[in-house]
């Protein structure tokens, strides 16, 4: 796994600290050429791992990397699936299960794979949670076909919902399926790192990759910083830190000092929009994170 992974939230106008900043970001990246320009800078600064949500933008980004193969000859992707907003309205209208089944059935390759007509398929897929999960993963993973994928993360909204429902066996099956079908590692994003790690252990998932907000201010860390630090100390999993700057609420040096000195930290995800920020962050991580930006 790469020790530094470049995040993608900034491209979609996501900022947890302020709606105004979020709006400014979406304006900054209205033109796709501005997105690729930032990706180029990140690559030039030594970033080799890129995290991408399975949405329309990611499709364009992956296409760009494919078409610039000479430039991006050593790239590893860390997709996180699904893109929840795609489903949000349909879920409110039709309910979650119907929405998921509709997604699978509207996908032609999935229809072929299970060899059934839409009507009978409804009940059949609905009966088999694991099959439904696999088909949904395939739908979301389509855009990354042919790329070097290192870890496939399950979005926190899904990980945490499944944890809440007590379906840790589905999480374990997800991990196994990613390994078997995509030759990558299954990972989990969560807003509840201590609980997630504990549950994955009871579910028999060995040394899982778990991605969570980890920052000094405790933002998006549930229940609190102390429990996160304790969980990190105990280990048994590989931690990937995101939201390290708490959307800009923490000074870069303080943020990286904190994250890089935690135990069992496998990788750090950061997003930035300018060359100076990318250079500064990479420099800080290199200096702090065991001295070198290397694959672990």
């Amino acid at each position: 796994m790469d020790r530094v992974i470049f995040g993608d939230n900034q491209f979609y106008g996501i900022n947890h600290m302020s709606e105004e900043k979020a709006r400014a970001l979406s304006e900054r990246f209205a033109d796709f050429r501005d997105v690729t320009a930032v990706l180029d800078v990140a690559y030039d600064c030594g970033v080799r791992g890129f995290m991408l949500n399975s949405n329309e933008w990611a499709k364009d980004i992956v296409d760009y990397m494919r078409s610039s193969k000479d430039r991006y000859d050593d790239v590893r992707l860390y997709p996180y699936i699904p893109y929840p907003h795609k489903y949000a309205n349909a879920v409110a209208e039709k309910g979650i299960i119907t929405t998921l089944i509709d997604v699978v059935l509207s996908d032609n390759s999935a229809k072929g794979a299970i060899g059934m007509i839409a009507k009978g398929g409804q009940t059949l897929i609905g009966r088999d949670v694991m099959k439904l999960m696999e088909l949904l993963v395939d739908v979301e993973m389509k855009i990354f076909r042919g790329m070097d994928v290192e870890v496939v993360f399950l979005q926190n909204i899904v990980t945490d919902l499944l944890l809440g429902l007590g379906f840790v066996d589905v999480l374990a099956a997800f991990s196994a399926y990613i390994e078997e079908k995509y030759g990558a590692k299954g990972g989990f994003m969560t807003m509840n790192l201590p609980y997630c790690v504990e549950q994955l252990a009871t579910g028999g998932v060995e040394r899982p990759v778990v991605c969570a907000a980890i920052n000094r201010s405790g933002y998006l860390m549930n229940p609190d910083v102390a429990e996160y630090e304790e969980t990190l100390k105990q280990g048994g999993f590989r931690a990937v830190a995101m939201s390290i700057f708490a959307s800009g609420g923490i000074r870069p040096k303080d943020a990286i000092d904190y994250v890089c000195t935690q135990e069992n930290m496998a990788a750090v995800v950061f997003g930035a929009s300018s060359r100076s920020h990318i250079e500064e962050t990479m420099g800080l991580i290199e200096r702090t994170f065991n001295g070198a930006v290397e694959r672990t």
């Binding site: 947890h16 209208e93 949670v129 998006l220 549930n222 800009g248």
Partner: protein
């Protein structure tokens, strides 16, 4: 004491409530009720909860202490009445009841029973709005002279006009489903208005219901304010609330992620200078026991449990609060008379 909880309505909100309470150490979900057998089969695949498609059967057969209701709003009044009859504590999704008369009847059923009752106006549990409420309660801004509350989102888009959202009778429309959050926030932070005036209901994409609500709210003592809500604004990725409160001594401008306070005088005790003071959610947010969708969702349900267990002084969003919001909504409909324009 471990609380045995039943859930009716396993749509998007019901599912979230179930997942959040399922991880609560003092709660055991024992029964789920929904019209979809498919949903029930999947949720109960571990065999740890009983499932029902008929709520009367669930209430008769499942041993419950409380009920979480997340069904379409037109069924709330009847379901609450049934639950209260059986002596259950009730959490109901917003809005409380569609008609104030139904709400009044339900409030009557509560009398003397000592049952905990809560409505799901989740903004009351948002980190920023909780802080704004504390500033108001602490008289930091003084009596409010004027306010402006806005809410925007892209809940309804141009290609989507069907379903229950398109019918008032089922609790659809921007007023019930969306603006109710904004109106409740006014009630929470400023208090219910004496009367409303100049209410405008406007349709943009929906055929039978309003997509825009605007209204002026008047108070005894001279305070006044406006609400402006639009649920089909494509420029908002998520529902967004904006609040502006102008008081005698200060002004507060807030959204779900930050707030700014303008003070006429320095407040060293609050760490605030004369002039503008900005605070971000990244600094003030408090973690929750288990996070799903946003910490306000966990916080409101944990508060419900705390109330039942006797750990909270009073409920932050009781049926009475929900009824007050229903009442303002009803007055706005009356004021706009003639319905959708």
């Amino acid at each position: 004491m471990t609380l045995r909880v039943g859930f009716v309505g396993m749509g998007r909100m019901g599912l979230a409530h179930y997942a959040i309470l399922n991880t609560h150490p003092e709660v055991t979900p024992v029964a789920l009720c929904d019209q979809s057998k498919q949903v029930l089969r999947i949720l109960a695949r571990k065999g740890e909860v009983a499932t029902f498609t008929d709520v009367d059967r669930m209430l008769a057969e499942a041993p419950l202490d409380c009920l979480v209701i997340s069904t379409p709003s037109d069924s709330h009044a009847e379901l609450i009445a049934k639950a209260l009859e059986r002596g259950l504590h009730v959490f109901v999704e917003k809005p409380f009841c569609l008609l104030p008369d139904d709400g009044k009847r339900v409030l009557g059923l509560l009398d003397g029973k000592g049952l905990v009752n809560q409505v799901g106006y989740v903004n009351r549990f948002n980190d920023v709005f909780l802080e704004v409420k504390r500033l108001l309660d602490g008289k930091v801004i003084g009596p409010i002279d004027h306010f402006k509350f806005e809410m925007y989102g892209r809940t309804v888009t141009r290609d989507q006009t069907g379903g229950w959202r398109a019918e008032h009778a089922k609790g659809g429309g921007c007023m019930y489903e969306f603006a109710s959050h904004c109106i409740d926030l006014v009630n929470y932070l400023v208090g219910p208005p004496e009367r409303v005036t100049g209410t405008l209901l406007h349709s943009i994409v929906s055929e039978k219901v309003e997509d825009v609500v605007s209204s002026s709210l008047l108070y005894e003592g001279g305070c006044c304010g406006t609400v402006l809500v639009n649920w089909c604004d494509p420029t908002f990725r998520k529902p967004s609330n904006k609040v502006e409160l102008l008081g005698e001594r200060a002004k507060i401008v807030a959204d779900k992620y930050s707030y700014r306070v303008y003070l006429e005088e320095e407040r060293a005790d609050l760490g605030m200078v004369k002039g503008w003071n900005t605070r971000y959610v990244t600094d003030i947010a408090q973690g929750v026991r288990f996070y799903l969708r946003g910490n306000e969702f966990s916080r409101q349900l944990d508060h419900f449990v705390d109330c039942i267990q006797g750990r909270a002084e009073r409920n932050i969003c009781s049926f009475r609060d929900g009824h007050e919001t229903d009442r303002v909504i009803h007055e706005m409909f009356e004021d706009a008379r003639g319905g959708v324009r």
